[in-house]
């Protein structure tokens, strides 16, 4: 698919060509290394040791170095390195602690050259000196680094890290005598090869093992390290103290890191676990990888740039037994896919919007938000000079503020605080909530609650006023409550105010309901509703139907909806129930209900205003005939909930969901419910309505939600004497070895709730103090203060 990409390399003048390709190896690879001529690559693993030629279209196996009848552990390679000066020379590190050198120039089939068995444990890394032909360095699990001269039989010098295991050793490319080593305990050491007695410098680079390091090919002081703590850090060693200059946070522990040739700030990484991709990062942009190669199906174990002066070819070997050549051009670039725009709502309806400046600039001529009363308060341009990406460098931030007054969210807070969600029969809950809504001037919401009550509860329980209220007003305008139909509703989500002033004559009961249930609906006879583009006509038909069916409740249906008691709430439960308790047994047939219902029919009939435009009487006559299943309305109710949520009134959606509980829960998919819950809880918390939010969490039936208040339940306390945090126990201080809070009544340590007088600061167990103050008004500690307990 990909055609040639020709790159002239600076060094040799030869031309590197190739494409993105891969080949299958027989076994998982542990490491790879590239020959100086960039035309061959060696792959080493536990049971593989082969040289492949990199051709234009494919990899071709050139040589299998794993010879012999019974392969020994010496061939089980943890690492391999190809000499950058001598193309016949290779070295491998074996898992059993042996360092082997290979001479490809040997005429025999077995190319093994020398065997160093000095390390006691697995050798993790071998490294040739970049300019010296015979110097080899190894780092092992036993904590030692050894320097070998290939002309001699054993090591020249041994460096002891005084620590557990060496994970990586790398010769500095610029400084002839220097090498860096990284350790399992998080340290990095710098050594002078002439001085094996002690390291030149040591610093802690990572939390946990440092798996890899790489010297910058050009910048002499820069060393990149990668660790188990999922970080890549770039250190400037040229200064007196090693200074962290860049830090890239990846998503998994970093197994290898390699600077990209010719690109000063780029480096490639692959990870040890879980994540299979190879990333190329721009260290100045630590959050998004510049490029990503996703070919491998298992963890990548070795990466190498094909040529030291060519930034476009990357080779990688993996546990999935493949060898890949990646072309930088073919890399997927997460930056491209990233969304450069950000949008966020403020608590009071303010809107902040950040985007690429170019994007905003082209549109700046336009009004940011057409046709509404809000306007941008300020328009801020932010330019970050450090950001190197020209195209993405500057971004603009717009903030739109709500006109003062119009965006008040007090209704939200009031509603949240006053709504009753549980603990009473459904009918009472609905009535209560309807009342709350009406008092706050949200008649449409109130109406909905009443309808819900009518739908789900027996008609006999409907009080007169409400019934009248819901029946409509065309004829019964004499009733005082009807004033509320001069609607003054707020669009909850947008905060804009729409005043619906309607002539009474043209209202039928269905439109009344409609108006109140959907304020922003495009409505022919409402001239003042503006700018609404919400397609909501589907409600027209539905509501009409619903209105008719409202009174078709049959006795059976009524039966099935017993008042539901949700779990009583204790004052201070030790730990709230973790298991979801299903709402109490439902739908028990109650014998006492049958006469009740028959009576209620009569009530309903008698209450209906005599008006020819309503066929209510006939409807209630039809009551006994129709047999509607109990969940007949659930589709409508669900639509209604979705409508509210869509409108931004997620409060209503969640409240109804909680109040109705089992009745509708199954008809709305879990995810939507979860989404509503999280949005509502988020809103509540932003308004600091902690109690309400916790109640909602507790009442929610969704598992993902109810576990919200099970996490982070730790309460940290400070000692009352030394003011230090009491880390291990809540009632004994580690430092002053005193019990922090004693009860003034019983003189024991208070381990739970401690109540104290704010006047004299004496106190104790809640129960004890309460009891004490019933009999006496003085402080139990005897300080003479007249304590007050309220």
């Amino acid at each position: 698919m990909e055609k040639m990409s020709r790159v002239t390399t600076a060094l040799s003048g030869s031309v590197l060509t190739g494409r993105t390709m891969h080949c299958h190896l027989d076994a998982p690879a542990n490491a790879i290394s590239v020959c100086r001529d960039a035309a061959q690559v060696v792959v080493a693993g536990r049971s593989i040791f082969k040289i492949y030629a990199i051709e234009e279209e494919q990899f071709v196996e050139k040589l299998n170095l794993r010879v012999g009848r019974k392969p020994s552990l010496n061939l089980s390679c943890a690492d391999v390195v190809w000499h950058q000066m001598d193309e016949n020379l290779l070295a491998t590190a074996a898992t059993n602690g042996v360092v082997v050198t290979w001479n490809l120039g040997r005429p025999s089939r077995n190319k093994q050259d020398q065997l160093f068995t000095e390390h006691k444990r697995t050798v993790n890394k071998v490294c040739f000196h970049p300019t010296e032909a015979h110097v080899l360095l190894s780092g092992s699990q036993d904590g030692f680094m050894k320097c070998f001269d290939l002309r001699r039989k054993d090591s020249v010098s041994t460096f002891s890290g005084q620590s557990e295991s060496v994970r990586d050793v790398q010769f500095s490319i610029r400084d002839y005598f220097t090498f860096a080593s990284t350790f399992e305990n998080g340290n990095v050491q710098l050594w002078d090869i002439r001085r094996p007695d002690r390291c030149e410098r040591m610093f802690t680079a990572h939390n946990g093992p440092v798996f890899c390091c790489d010297w910058h090919p050009e910048d002499r002081g820069w060393l990149a390290t990668g660790g188990r703590d999922k970080m890549v850090k770039v250190w400037d060693m040229a200064t007196h103290r090693a200074k962290e200059v860049h830090c890239v946070q990846t998503i998994a522990s970093v197994a290898r890191v390699k600077w990209r040739p010719e690109c000063r700030h780029h480096l490639a990484t692959c990870s040890m676990m879980v994540d299979h991709n190879v990333y190329v990062w721009d260290v100045r942009r630590p959050f998004v990888p510049a490029a990503m190669f996703e070919e491998h199906r298992d963890v990548t174990t070795g990466i190498a740039w094909r040529h030291p002066h060519d930034p476009s070819f990357l080779l990688s070997g993996s546990k999935d037994s493949t060898l890949c050549q990646h072309l930088f051009r073919d890399a997927s670039q997460p930056v491209e896919r990233a969304n450069p725009e950000g949008l966020c709502y403020g608590l009071f309806g303010d809107l902040a919007f950040a985007a690429k400046e170019s994007l905003v600039a082209t549109e700046s001529g336009r009004k940011p938000y057409a046709g509404d009363r809000r306007h941008p308060i300020f328009f801020k341009r932010k330019l970050d000079p450090a950001e190197p990406f020209a195209g993405l460098a500057s971004s603009a931030l717009n903030v739109f503020e709500i006109e003062p007054g119009s965006g008040s969210m007090s209704w939200f807070v009031d509603t949240a605080e006053r709504y009753a969600l549980a603990g009473r029969p459904l009918a009472e809950l609905c009535d209560h909530n309807a009342k709350v809504a009406r008092e706050l001037g949200r008649n449409q919401v109130a109406q909905t609650w009443i309808m819900l009550r009518i739908i789900y509860c027996s008609p006999g329980l409907v009080p007169t006023t409400n019934l009248n209220h819901s029946v409509g007003k065309g004829s019964s305008c004499g009733l005082p409550l009807m004033n509320s139909f001069n609607l003054k509703d707020m669009a909850p989500g947008l905060g804009s105010e729409t005043r619906l002033d309607r002539s009474k004559g043209d209202t039928r009961s269905d439109t009344v309901l409609l108006d109140s249930s959907a304020t922003l609906i495009t409505n022919e006879d409402n001239e003042e509703t503006e700018g609404s583009d919400v397609p909501t006509d589907y409600l027209l038909g539905d509501v009409e139907g619903e209105d008719d069916e409202l009174y078709l409740l049959d006795p059976e249906h009524a039966h099935s909806e017993e008042p539901e008691y949700v779990l009583p709430q204790e004052a201070f439960p030790l730990r709230h129930e973790i298991v979801d308790t299903p709402p109490g047994p439902e739908h028990l047939q109650d014998k006492a209900d049958s006469p009740h219902v028959s009576g209620s029919e009569a009530d309903a009939a008698s209450l209906v205003p005599v008006d020819s435009s309503f066929s209510l009487i006939s409807v209630s006559h039809a009551l006994c005939d129709s047999r509607l299943p109990p969940d007949f309305f659930s589709a409508l109710v669900c639509d209604m909930l979705r409508f509210y949520a869509e409108q931004g009134d997620v409060q209503m959606a969640v409240s109804v969901l909680i109040v109705l509980g089992e009745r509708v829960r199954k008809d709305i998919d879990e995810q939507t419910q979860e989404h509503w819950y999280t949005s509502y809880i988020d809103l509540l918390q932003r308004f600091c309505l902690w109690n309400v939010s916790n109640q909602v969490v507790k009442l929610s039936t969704s598992r993902a939600i109810s576990c919200l208040n099970q996490a982070s339940t730790t309460l940290h306390v400070n000692c009352s004497h030394c003011k230090r945090p009491m880390s291990s126990r809540g009632w004994v201080c580690d430092r002053c070895r005193r019990c922090a809070s004693m009860c003034a009544v019983c003189h024991h340590v208070v381990k739970g709730l401690f109540v104290w007088c704010q006047g004299c600061s004496h106190g104790g167990h809640l129960q004890h103090i309460m009891k004490w103050l019933e009999g006496s008004s003085h402080c139990p500690a005897g300080c003479g203060h007249l304590c007050e307990y309220s």
Partner: protein
Amino acid sequence: MRLATAANEAYTASLAVSELLGCKQCGGSRGQDEELGIRIPRPLGQGPSRFIPEKEILQVGSEDAQMHTLFADSFAALGRLDNITLVMVFHPQYLESFLKTQHYLLQMDGPLPLHYRHYIGIMAAARHQCSYLVNLHVNDFLHVGGDPKWLNGLENAPQKLQNLGELNKVLAHRPWLITKEHIEGLLKAEEHSWSLAELVHAVVLLTHYHSLASFTFGCGISPEIHCDGGHTFRPPSVSNYCICDITNGNHSVDEMQVNSAGNVSVSDSFFEVEALMEKMKQLQECREEEEASQEEMASRFEIEKRESMFVFSSDDDEVTPARDVSRHFEDTSYGYKDFSRHGMHVPTFRVQDYCWEDHGYSLVNRLYPDVGQLIDEKFHIAYNLTYNTMAMHKDVDTSMLRRAIWNYIHCMFGIRYDDYDYGEINQLLDRSFKVYIKTVVCTPEKVTKRMYDSFWRQFKHSEKVHVNLLLIEARMQAELLYALRAITRYMT
């Protein structure tokens, strides 16, 4: 005084429990003091451990500041100062890490609800018929609001926990058989499925309690006073022992025999230590000289692995779980022993391809944050713990011995270190020691005081506890490696 209150509190809490469990052995003797109106429980016997004389163990009250803090921590976290803590305090450095980890696993933020955690602990301990741990966690389980019905057996627990039974079984006895299919089965069981995070939490708990069961038996931890078998209502004159105490064949008669035998061989055992030190020195020196061939190294591992399967105590009597602990698990016949009889092949697991430091840690920390760090620390402390002493000798580098023990345990689980010469194990660990290791790690319920006494006779008790720490940590790591490798394979 602190301990006394602890015991009292725990005791009142647990009365209901023991009634509920209805210990048949002790139940009969309960009525005797009834006439006095109050039945006063009496501690049974010999201090925190049946194997270690009480006077050797640190007395509460005589601890130094560091230990005191540890005790206080332990008490605050668990509401008790259990016998395990009292024995482990031989090695306060380890104990600290151990308690921290256990506290985090059981009580801090984690994906599993609290009662699940204790129940999993019960399941794991019950696999080894460790009534000590089961009793402790039955209390805790009820304390955090667990459903007492579950305690009647695994089949009464939720399906989700029942699904875990298979993994528990395999993990406890033959962890090398864990495949990604096991993991898949748990993760994809529709409404009973586990999430990855929950599974990792459960796996860590299971391995923790499997190895803790090893420790309990390996050190002969006595039952807590408030648990079954830990107290008696009989007046002390009747008998010092409750029948429950004999479950593991540690009758007082046993003890006397061993003691007399021990006296005879004091001089022998003196030479044991000397010989061991000599061997260590030799190994250290000759390592450079003679280099075994690769084939030989490989075969040494195989030999050691095969032999480890036949190392079993001669007094290998069938101990059927006498207690109602068996309710908590099914398939009692499934054990480590089975496979040695059938000569099954244990595939070799190469540490260089999947090790705790590189792979296991990252996976655990990813799915169950902070726990990887805690366990990692615990492994490190256990592996590196040394006082440079061996019996009466000081300034000894014991790293070689510790490594041999560690690798021997891993070897029993088929885990191989490429860079280790398994011939060393044969040199350093004698047969009685191997029998002890093997029994503690694989079938802890069969450990007897005789076994404990017969290895390393000249060594101090604290050193034997040290050995136990190595054993349990190595075992935990081995089980974790297999389980985590399966999870990794499932994820890729």
